[in-house]
Symmetry: D2
Subunit: 382 residues, 4 copies
């Protein structure tokens, strides 16, 4: 492996996403041996020295930092990977850009579009390579969907629908805030399911079906008060527990989106469906290795929805893994994003979705939240 | 069978729905032998004497009429069954009520709420038994869903979503209007998918989850012009090809509804899902004999969605049919509604959904269409 | 309907199968209006005058008999429909053939091959039209499977597997024998699951995949003793509770068959699958309106199993029913067999499976039972 | 990681299984941080120095060998992992045992039972820790099945059925033999699908349902001749392309097994089902993250097959991975086996299935092949 060029990673934040990204860095060269670069786990940064060191020990980071500013100052770091809560993305990213570091930022890009604009400006004016971890684009079945669409198989698109259903916050005794539950705290997360879950749905939709023009949304907070982990007091819940919206895409198709953490029975059920004139596509995260495909051009008597077991060598990314019939899982999406990132580094290119591309998702989220607040249709303004 | 009391049916209109209702009348006593009444196919009425006679011959109606006013005047008719296009429901129903006939009216009740109010007033002031053919309530799996909800198994409800997806009008060469395609003609149908498909979804939703307070909708007409069968000319299409809406239910849950005739790959896919605090339920029309059920009270390690094959003797209506494992189909829903109607006749009761109950669906449809037109949230006003 | 020629039916036995057949006779002209014949429910015959009369009243038979010999002697009967336990099929059929009646015999044809031979000889020497009610051939999805096979889509066949799984006799307190439970009594039924369930699987297999050469089988009786309904005593159970066998088909493919009444969780799960060089087909009775189809000639990246919702007008039998997406059920298979029988009467032809064709199923069953007894491979001898 | 004890691995063979095992070694400490041992990729051994070095470079082995005897002689190797074709397992394993190495042997254990006995004797007399890579036991859903069975939820078992269906050798132009296709060469593989695929089914069955007493089998070689990669000549194919067998388990249940490489449409579809008095279980490899479970004790009207999405923290192995709803895949089964192996090393215990346990699978395979050859029932002799 010595012949590969090292790319030194500095990871900020070591929660759930820190694990998924780190695993991506550690696996990529085993399965994508053609890459010229190899990620080096140079440093991980967290506020707690103890927790950070434990993570470094378990995963093999060479060093730790407790101040992300110091991490960014380090000369031996090529790329900053941001895995912190949403409210710190902008500050860290802008500083990293100024320091000339490549940036891999966890989604959503920012707290809002305004903040996102500054981040885009920062990376573009600094000319640093960047990407946002909308990992579901790189589920092989979703990538295959993109390929089929790009091949023009759907014809004119009429409908796009997606939802992301979870049920883990139904229990009203669950507190909000703190390290583990910052996603329930608007101050840290910006929004609730909109930024956490719908953002995934929107990113994929924009990629597969183009821009969204306008939206009409509703949000709801079912549990109005929860104990706050940091203060110990019962406080008002400010995030959206559920959010749904109607929209128009620029290509004339209609969109319907929904996300919630109150759909009993669904753990992490992200589903999407696209209906075109000639063909339709469905996918869901609970069986992520399958793509459902309907082709109207099939002969009438044997027409039907096909379940494609996306495990063959001619399916996206799959030649790197096992043999037909043997499925991969969730974590592999991050390996794929690292692989694409490293391949693009060779050519000096940023990796999709870039900050700029991810900004559009932010703009849709902002329009959604504004619409829900104003009970009005809102245009999407990037 | 001679011991049963005859109930003489006069059917107006003999299209697709004329067949489904007639089949209901002819099968009901074979499978529900306990009923005191037996329907008698006394007369069928249509504008074409030839077509009407052919239908009468095939299905065994004793006589025909070509003017529904004459049918209503006949002393030997107990009940008028209205299977005509939507724009004639009100006139026929009001006349039938005045003549003291029982009325079984095909859905949707009326062209709009105002018209529906007059129909409700007519049947209630005349005191005639009435029902509207929202047949999907009587799919055994859907009736079972209602039973499970009434037993309190769901707890607080958070979400209700339903869609009705078809793909039969994608071809732009399909004409509009006339006997076969009046559903594409706003003058005859009132609306497009809203009255045709969404009305079904709304009726079931009101039954399972209670009232809807307000809605935000969008509609679309993808094919803007079609040849009109009656005029032979290319004319503007005035119906909605697709309609989707967000809503709030009075119980605090959020609703999401969609219907379209442009969802390639779906023939008649009516699906519904309800998420409660303790349990969730799913159903779809393409496998109508199954109910999906998730119960959070199940032991953690073996918790999952259960597929109930609704074919057992202790499932609604099923003791009347075959043995466990042997499914029934679409047409049986009409047999069930006839059976319930006849049983209620014995007790002088109207059969749910009555005209009054169906009026609420109309009010939701009106709010939906107004919302789509005005790009505004609209309250539902019954 | 008066223009149609009457075909007078005399039904022997009015249990579960009496209902399914009668329903077939009553519905056929409504849905197959092109037929020249109409079945007339002339007489039903049963040992109990009271029970028989009640059945006649419910279903509309014109008269009753309590001795099948008298029924056969009646001049006003055209066709004898045999729905009695298996041990009386031969005697009734042979007498009916001698009397020149058409015969519709419930499956299995006979208690064994020897008896079956006499029945075949009887109908063939008398020249009477005949058929055996292996109804599953006429599930539209199964008929479609036959069509696809006949079109040569599978290429060389390698594998055929079928099973029929039930769970209704697991309870050891269930008695054997008598009117309701004669299927558990070897004296009345001849065998257990072999004649009751496997016979269905074998009939379809012979139809779809040709002759079976030899078999190796095992049978088991899990509950060794049950109270006999007629004697009131605990008696040895002589039927097979479960039966499985390996076989070779004449076309070189391998077969695997299994049936049981001890497969907890399966009500009536008849499944079949055929694997050919170019394509494969799967079907099951619990979702009988679907056919699964895999075509290797599909483009690699979008290859997968297709779920065909067999409800379109170009699917077998379906133009007679509703519209795409609206499923039919179990009982319709009998309507289809009546329709085919009546159409064949017009041309003086027997309807498949004829007695002769059903005899081959009997021969396979005999080989299976002999193999299980002798723990040996047995050739199938028709 | 320095605090963990190193366990030096010497891998023999670097084909497909070499990759899966190596990946297991490399990932285990990231996800199972509680283990006291860490595997060290000390050496990999293959006949081609070039190929072996390339593998070592890609995966990070410290050194290579081209003679397995030398590898075994090395003092710095603690455990030998055997990934070579079946015909060399015995020789390598026996030598490794004599050298006092721990052994991890790819399945099937041996070419036959006789050879297997010698291997068992070798490891047991040497007292070396051992395991055989029947990896499917450690799919979390399969491990959960074992747990549910051990908890006594099934009651008396009536049926066990399993099959393993592939379609990759249908093309008659595919050659046999050599590095890539040794599985088609009886000299290297011992048997065809019996040892390759059925062995997996048998191992799981013995684990879940206990011993098998006797079998009746059939085998078939559909493509009789193939070009041999090593000789370049068309040679007779000696392996079994397909194999099916009936059997009795010692607990009185009936078994039905089948495997083939000629089931068009199935890539690697290993399915199993167990039917007990009180509950039944189903699983398949194409959706390996789900377990189907039917519990007769559920209330009647809501009884049905449950699909358990085996991704929760209280499911076997899953607390080590991600969060509920996020599936893992095929490769993780090997990580689990390494984790269990390392945990057992701490206690000086071999890991199930041990050589002795895997020997029983070998005995069933031998009985199956003997039965197919002799067209006779054969007892299983361990």
């Amino acid at each position: 492996m010595s012949s590969k060029k090292p790319l030194n990673i500095g990871l900020v934040g070591y929660g759930f996403m820190g694990r998924t990204h780190t695993n991506g860095y550690k696996r990529v060269n085993d399965f994508f041996p053609e890459l010229a670069y190899r990620p080096v786990l140079k440093a991980v940064c967290g506020r707690s020295a103890e927790g950070t060191q434990a993570f470094a020990d378990q995963w093999g980071y060479e060093s730790i930092e407790t101040d992300w500013r110091k991490l960014i100052e380090r000369k031996d770091i090529d790329a900053i990977d941001i895995c912190t809560p949403n409210n710190s993305h902008a500050e860290i990213a802008i500083a990293a850009a100024k320091a000339g570091k490549m940036i891999l930022c966890e989604k959503p890009l920012s707290m809002n579009t305004a903040e996102g604009h500054k981040m885009v400006e920062a990376v573009e004016s600094a000319g640093v390579l960047n990407t946002v971890w909308y990992n579901y684009r790189r589920v092989p079945a979703v990538t295959l969907a993109k390929k089929l669409i790009d091949e023009g198989r759907l014809g004119k698109v009429f409908h796009y629908r997606a939802n992301f259903l979870q049920d883990w916050t139904i229990n009203a005794d669950l507190p909000q805030g703190g390290t583990a539950l910052w996603r329930l705290d608007a101050a840290a997360a910006g929004s609730g399911v909109t930024g956490d879950l719908l953002a995934h749905c929107i990113d994929t939709a924009l990629w597969l079906n183009g821009s969204i023009s306008d939206v009409s949304a509703m949000t709801e907070t079912f549990v109005k008060e929860r104990t706050h982990t940091l203060t110990g007091k019962v406080e008002k819940v400010s995030i959206d527990d559920a959010c749904a919206f109607l929209c128009h895409f620029s290509n004339g198709s209609l969109g319907l989106f929904e996300s919630t953490r109150y759909a009993r029975g669904h753990k992490a059920l992200y589903t999407l469906e696209i209906n075109g004139e000639n063909a339709s596509i469905r996918w869901d995260l609970h069986d992520l290795h399958r793509l459902e495909y309907f082709d109207y051009k099939d002969e009438g008597q044997i027409r039907g929805w096909k379940s494609i077991h996306v495990t063959d060598g001619d399916h996206p990314y799959m030649k790197h893994w096992w043999v037909p019939g043997l499925q991969i899982g969730y974590e592999h999406t991050f390996v794929h994003q690292v692989a694409d990132f490293l391949a693009n580094v060779e050519h000096g290119k940023s990796t999709s979705p870039t900050f700029r591309e991810a900004l559009e998702t932010q703009a849709v989220c902002d329009a959604v939240l504004a619409s829900a607040k104003g009970r009005s249709w809102e245009d999407v303004k990037v």
